[in-house]
Symmetry: C2
Subunit: 544 residues, 2 copies
């Protein structure tokens, strides 16, 4: 027939790198975001929703004179030849808003935002081109109280969505400390900030790779460079041994402090005392397992460790003004949080936090989940980072020329949701509706009346709307929908003024476990008067 | 200086046709969508979230062989030269999902979806290129019970968000009735569905314009054509007078029925009786104001009117099988809804509902708000349509070749929200946070402790994080945030162990109304013990 010769049929496919979210996936994420929004709101942040589309110019990742924007974002030219793009994060639109409405917004402007962002990157396993972010930022406050508050809020948000205290730590560092170390190492000149920018870039990237490359890898990149397993060579920063030693004092600060603590503890065990003794966390005597000791300390860490870190950092930055300012800010943040009971078991001063983004200018923070999960290869590993942020004082300046201090946090929605699922805390109600089955299609109005009654009582319910001919299909449907109860009323039941209620969860259990005789006795099915429909269903739902 | 000679600054501008939503705008929309989602969920619908991006091929608005997709959507070519686009509605992605996962989804598949869609159209006042939709659809059920259920759900959703009964009506029609009328008029041949497709297109578009052009305008377009005020001529369908009379019997059905009701009422008033008397709504004797009578009937309409409409439509479609099927479906929908108490005051069978989209194949419906608002020129007008939908049995077929019956509804989120605002029912709490002011910047930890206490008591609160030097600025900030209470503690208060609480709503009222003496007595400011901070603030919030 002519109609079959039409154009070929389109493929029904999610575009590459994108995905669809069904049922509980949507409601679990929504429940989590609603909880986080509640925390942000309680802290005084106001919601802001910008459009998904921005001008490429405002996004600012690209030079205005290139013809086709770089990789990284989805972009297109509109009818006026302006380039538009999908936002790649929620911070760039905030900077645009802060500049555009600067005369109308309160100062400081505290806003939260949640929604999808898009990255035009090569898709991979678990890497999607659209994902959610959930941010809160304070624009227009240079006070470290703003940074401290965001760390406290992050801790509150994690606990409220279901990460118990002890299972997370907010790690805090300060870019200024690293700048101070670089000044001491002679690769930052406060009088000429552009000088050595190339070397500092290499140093920053090297430090950020410490987790993957280890201290020796970082050391190589600070010097001549590093050849990886594949044989590829990455050129290093070319620092001298003396310079490298200074930077490595920062890179290895955590290990040095752990060693310090271990020695103090050992000397305390052997009878001597040390100044900081009372502030050092106690733990098991496992000198042979520094890694485990480290984890014990991380979990049970106390204010003592934060103070040790701060004094170590103060030594490292020497006379660098920016470095000292950085240590002072960290010290102030630690003090503010500690006084609100956000103690070192939750907030840790940690020189290992660098964060890749070049735009951070002061305190940086990262929320890490410290419990272990099993990775795809069956090995236990720590869950890791689920949120991060910091102070960025120059983003709004791009538009206005005036520096506007700002600080904020972004929660990795998908990672945090995965963590909640791993902990069994994702917790939206995933039960399907009560299914009113159709035994007699002429009595549809009666079945609809049952569903209506149930709904008016607040019970999720629907009439089976497929072809009712095969009753087995109706029960299969109820099963697929994870329905807790099926309501059945044939002609006989209708005449007697009753309905059958089938407990589908119990029925499934019996089908899996019971003998044929037990199954035949249908303990999962009960008869109630039609007038008791709602009460009967409620009873079963209570037990389901 | 060299730095000032850098590239010109980007403009901080929302892209043309897009907009930003602040604070209450976001939370009011969210509250409304959450309520609607609750209704959809209670009716057994599951959430689905597809990505914003689809292949142009799957969206299906365009021929696959054109090089550059048409206007209407935002589209771009990815690195594999495939065309991608932002979704322009939530129905096209649903059709893709229903086809892609057809072996895994339950049948029927009942899903709801809410989120932004994008249209690459010329922006205008109140017309934006990104806006929200909020849909529920049942895919895989051919039963009119599915259509009836969606009408009932729409009524429930409107009432739950805050549109009172009596202020809305769900108008229902059926495309098959119109097809039946066209068959009777000789412009639809069931044996050759493609024949007269051009004429039918003109007829459909003409009927859809009835509101604007009036009956005479529609009549002209059914015949030779119509010249508008500007002198432009629109070619008509070229129907004969006899054909036009048949179609106009449908177009003017509502007016004919109103006239019928008026005459029956008149004859009843004068003492005679008529068969349908008891079913005809009673209203005031305003034979000279048929329009007002019409509105009275619309508001107080009863089952009698729906029955009159159905019998009139049955006459109009004569022996057309499709037409009779359409009337039977409408009759069944009316019966199902009436038995659930969704009576004619809420659900109205209405031949005027046509709905532009060509893809509807059966029942179509539209929710209209019947209260009056004042338009931008100060004239009263009915609020109008806020939701619509219908049955579309061919959308999934594009992908699979198999016809899949489907029906659904889409709520116009922005219009409904505007209606709620007009009625003062948008109702999210728009109060700002309690502001803890900073009198002594060295005591930031104390102020933070106050905010923390308030938050732990569930009270929205924040410390002022701007420059605290000018106290007036702090109060201006609190005012801009619509803060209900300011907390003040200077050195003196700290020493005495008290805080001052300033009722800012009362303060604003006094400032506006009170004499200088009254104002100086500061009735809006109270002192409480520091330990009673939470209780004191709670007291003020209760009265605010």
């Amino acid at each position: 027939m002519a109609k079959d010769k039409g154009p070929r049929r389109p493929r029904a496919e999610t575009p590459k790198g994108f995905r669809d979210y069904f049922g509980a996936e949507v409601s679990e994420r929504k429940a989590m975001l609603d909880t986080i929004a509640g925390v942000y709101h309680r802290y005084g942040f106001d919601p802001l929703e910008t459009s998904a589309v921005e001008t490429v110019e405002a996004l600012g990742k690209f030079l205005p004179d290139v013809d086709r924007p770089n990789e990284g974002v989805f972009a297109w030219q509109d009818e006026d030849k302006d380039w538009l793009a999908l936002r790649y994060d929620l911070t760039a639109p905030l900077a645009r808003v802060a500049a555009q409405y600067r005369n109308d917004l309160p100062t400081p402007y505290r806003r939260f935002a949640m929604g999808p962002v898009w990255r035009n990157e090569k898709p991979g396993p678990g890497r999607f081109r659209q994902f959610y972010q959930c941010d809160a930022d304070t624009v227009g406050s240079g006070s470290v109280a703003a940074d401290a508050e965001i760390c406290a809020m992050l801790a509150d948000a994690l606990e409220e969505v279901g990460i118990p205290r002890g299972d997370y730590v907010v790690r805090v560092n300060n870019r200024k400390v690293l700048n101070g170390v670089m000044e001491v190492a002679g690769i930052l000149d406060p009088a000429d900030p552009e000088k050595f920018a190339h070397e500092r870039g290499i140093v920053m990237r090297a430090i950020d790779k410490k987790d993957r490359l280890g201290a020796s890898g970082v050391r190589a990149l600070l010097g001549e460079g590093r050849r990886d397993e594949s044989g590829d060579f990455t050129t290093g920063a070319g620092l001298s041994d003396a310079q490298i030693a200074i930077v490595m004092g920062f890179v290895e600060a955590n290990d040095l402090i752990d060693e310090d603590i271990r020695q103090r503890r050992a000397s305390r065990v052997s009878g001597s005392t040390a100044d900081l003794d009372e502030e050092i966390p106690s733990g098991p005597d496992d000198q042979d397992f520094p890694r485990e000791l480290r984890q014990m300390i991380l979990a049970a860490s106390s204010a003592g460790r934060n103070k040790l870190v701060l004094s170590h950092l103060r030594e490292l930055v020497g006379n660098s003004l920016v470095g000292l300012a950085g240590v002072d800010e960290l010290s102030e943040i630690e003090k503010l949080l500690d006084s609100q009971n956000y103690n070192a078991d939750r907030i840790r001063i940690d020189p290992d936090v660098v964060r890749g983004l070049g735009y951070y200018t002061g305190p940086v923070f990262e929320a890490e989940l410290t419990f272990e999960i099993t990775d795809e290869k069956g090995r236990p590993r720590q869950f890791g980072s689920v949120a991060g942020g910091g102070r960025y004082d120059d983003l709004v300046k791009r538009f206005t020329g005036q520096s506007v201090p700002a600080t904020g946090v972004s929660i990795g929605v998908d990672r945090l949701l995965a963590a909640l699922r791993a902990k069994g805390r994702a917790g939206a109600d995933t039960r399907g509706p009560v299914i009113v089955t159709v035994m007699d299609r002429d009595r549809m109005a009666d079945y609809q009346a049952m569903a209506t009654e149930l709904r008016r009582a607040g019970i999720r319910a629907e009439v089976y709307l497929g072809n009712p001919k095969n009753f087995g299909n109706q029960l299969k449907y109820a099963d697929k929908r994870q329905s807790p109860v099926a309501v059945i009323q044939g002609t006989d039941e209708a005449q007697r003024g009753v309905v059958q209620l089938k407990d589908l969860f119990l029925g499934a259990k019996i089908a899996a476990e019971a003998s044929h005789e037990e199954w035949k006795s249908q303990p999962a099915q009960t008869e109630v008067a039609r007038a008791d429909l709602v009460a009967g269903v409620r009873r079963l739902l209570g037990s389901a």
